[in-house]
Symmetry: C2
Amino acid sequence: MTLRAFEPDQTDWRLLAELQADGRLSFNELARRVHLSAPSVAERVRRLEQAGIITGYAARVDAARAGQPVLVYIQLRCMLNKCLLRTTRAEDYPEIVEVHKLSGEYCTMLKARATSLAHLEGFVERLGLLGEMRTHIVLSTAYQDRPVTEPSPDRPVTPSQGWTRT
Amino acid sequence: MTLRAFEPDQTDWRLLAELQADGRLSFNELARRVHLSAPSVAERVRRLEQAGIITGYAARVDAARAGQPVLVYIQLRCMLNKCLLRTTRAEDYPEIVEVHKLSGEYCTMLKARATSLAHLEGFVERLGLLGEMRTHIVLSTAYQDRPVTEPSPDRPVTPSQGWTRT
DNA sequence: AATGAAAAAACTCCTGT
DNA sequence: ACAGGAGTTTTTTCATT
């Protein structure tokens, strides 16, 4: 698969919006919605896939209903050369959903799910071996999975008083 | 749509795994993979949808390739009754991808995307009006979008020394 | 990029076990 | 609750303009 870079146009963005809302739309249905023919739509979607903009299609699963109602963010301050990223694989912890390397004092941000607070307790204790951490339990989620849309042109930035942006 | 609770069995979990990996698999193909007939699979998938376990299907979009390479987590400590959740709608900030209400001192965790650091600067300044905040820039992402799998039975938890779990 | 037609595949219903 | 088959509809793809 060759990744050819290219700029999505307005129609591509409409297709991306539709497919993020319903990834199982047929080319026919998509064509109706963006007022194009099915073959045209098929070619555009292929281009988006080959450019690596569309990376795949997935069923969305409600983790809470699937038995994992506890969501946490954990910030890790790893010992030197003892980072979770170096010593262990995140795949070994089935609770871990995301691993990000951060700027700042706490080098790693984890997102994890557990079946219960008891489960979370055990998980955190296992993790604790890796370094100092801060755990943030999510009480509720107000907003989730905003689809990727066309970046609006940067709004004018107010320079900090007395400073000039370079 | 009536939400009937029910427990997914082993076969349901296999279907969930397949559909999270490829949300566009047909019932025929799914049937082949889990060694069932297409009608049986169709019925199971419907049940998963009606139970609210499968909430939908979506194309996955690479935000970086789509023009938004900057990812940040922001913790907000809101003034009383001036929480982002109360005064403004997250939808008004197109940069915001997720909003979680947290336990602890910082009441809100945001996930946001920007097109550039200049754009991020402007966004953070706009947000700053809402309260004190901590911004964490993601340098790289090591792991992402782990599919929801069957919760393994809770491992035995090591009680903290001198304490009994209740 | 659109049209139209042909080919392929998907879904669903029904029946039987 | 599942398997198998037939029939219908939809989808995809190709060739052409």
